[in-house]
Symmetry: C2
Subunit: 375 residues, 2 copies
Amino acid sequence: MNGEQGSESDSPEAVPVRARRAAVVGTGLIGGSIGMALRARGWHVTGRDANPESAERALQAGALDAIGCDPDAEVTFVATPVGAVAAEARSVLDQAGLAADAVVTDVAGVKVPVVAQVDDPRFVGGHPMAGSEQTGIDGADAELFSGATWVLTPVAGTDPDAYALLRSVVAMVGAEVVALSPGQHDALVAVVSHVPHLAAATLMNLAERVSTEHAALLRLAAGGFRDMTRVAAGEPSIWPDVCIANSAAIVATLDALVADLEEVRSRVARQDRAGLFAMLGQAASARRVLPASAGTPDELAEVRVPVPDRPGVIAEITTMAGDMGVNIFDLEIAHSVEGDRGVMVLVVDSRDAESLHDALAARGFRPTAGFLERP
Amino acid sequence: MNGEQGSESDSPEAVPVRARRAAVVGTGLIGGSIGMALRARGWHVTGRDANPESAERALQAGALDAIGCDPDAEVTFVATPVGAVAAEARSVLDQAGLAADAVVTDVAGVKVPVVAQVDDPRFVGGHPMAGSEQTGIDGADAELFSGATWVLTPVAGTDPDAYALLRSVVAMVGAEVVALSPGQHDALVAVVSHVPHLAAATLMNLAERVSTEHAALLRLAAGGFRDMTRVAAGEPSIWPDVCIANSAAIVATLDALVADLEEVRSRVARQDRAGLFAMLGQAASARRVLPASAGTPDELAEVRVPVPDRPGVIAEITTMAGDMGVNIFDLEIAHSVEGDRGVMVLVVDSRDAESLHDALAARGFRPTAGFLERP
């Protein structure tokens, strides 16, 4: 039971090389897009959905090769609503005949409760920061993840090889991987996703209330208002569960937003021109440099870190880099023959190499850094 | 001194018909775009700017025919920052040799203080709800107003012919005119423009603050966050004056927004799934039907209203229609020979004709309505 093509090339009959295999559980927008993205890259994808009709539609749409389970899948993506993830992930992990090196991940927008409920070295939480105004398989797209950020949340118990495998598959579909601890992920998405979504919906409802008395209002809603409220048009059904699963971080962020709005109100009320200009100028500067993606660096560098060959170190190093904003373009783990030591090779923008090196050294690692050829 | 082409066609030498004339004061994004839009439609446009270099650049960019003042201009658009509008508008109105039927308007985002300071029957406040991420003449575009809403704010003292002339010129550059009282305009733009802009800037600054500690945050800023904060990238310099000029309405709207966010916070904190779903579902429905523009009606109707030939009636009727959300596609004023009565002809979507008729009748007018040919 081994999903890697290497096992097949040992067999003289195996021509051509057998396709790599993946599975998806939940064949909506994200699950369907993962299926399409992997199939476009030559993979065999098996999928299922709580609603058999959805799986059938995904098969017809070209997101799947087959309906069902696949114990030979190297990676299984659980792409159900957040409330169903833990049970589905555990059922995949408990599957009879599952390969010992199979990896299971999910795509839910909240990670702490999911990761806490699926405590297994072969499970790595994930969250692709990509979406569409469409929902379901009709919005699925093999290039949905191209250039998108895809968060992975390794923890102390995560198997380093499981992480490295999942990381390479996610990078293969075009996403830029950022490793964060589950807690950091949840705190940060409250700021850049959950609270902005709630604020957009709140603004839309406020405008709607005023427009029932003054029909002209909606005629005045120009580009800025349309942009700001666009996310509020999204399918609402997944959001209440996300809000509840991440309620602590959302409440804290809403409190910060309200406090900041009260400060803005006070500057407007006391006609504090300079204070308003400073606040708006700061926002304009920040928004103008908001990165569209990690981009392609001019020069890559390799940071090599001798590591003890044990779980924990992968989460420590990758989430540290993630939180520093250091983009890891490639990651490899070379195990030593003796078995208790290895070397982690991180490929990063050469401009980030020194700060990553120093941060690793400060934590007691003994990294070495060197430039690579221009990519 | 008569800017209408009719006066010229009486003269046998006048071949071809002399161009209609307009002037702009302030040759930035909006002033420059007005110049381009009118020149593209055959008008002669004269312009000036407090900064002579700006006027020179507008001339080079094709937004102007000449630099300076034009007492023969039928319409002068004062397109300066809000603080300078009143003085500039009065200086145009006091210009030696200005035609008796010349109209002056402005484009500032706040109307109550402007209209209060320029009390003249030939001045009509205006606000084109169009912009660009670019600023200055470099962002100017002859089609900037195409399909955009352009608010006009006639008041009791406004001359009906001045309003009808300005209205026709604004419609000619492709904008959809909505008449509102200055107070209603200011209250409504606080909801759909000023407060959303302040909220976007506040969200951006909150994210920026978090990202100084967690660099990964900005990597997680996907499409929704980018959409929501886009307006915050705009040139901040005009905003403090706008906020201060409209401070009462902005403070009231910020208070409503904060109260609504507190309610959302409480639903998240008490894990009120149904309450969150209701709130998000309502916003999604409202956002999905947000009109992109008034659109083209299937059938037009004409509502004819005999009116006393005096100021006040134009403001009363047009702002009533504006606040009802009834789009006036064309407006004409037929003066009676005797001089004290006239007929206002309003062309509206046939589906709006009955409600407009009834609202006019309820105010003591005696309108008649009839269908027109399909446009």
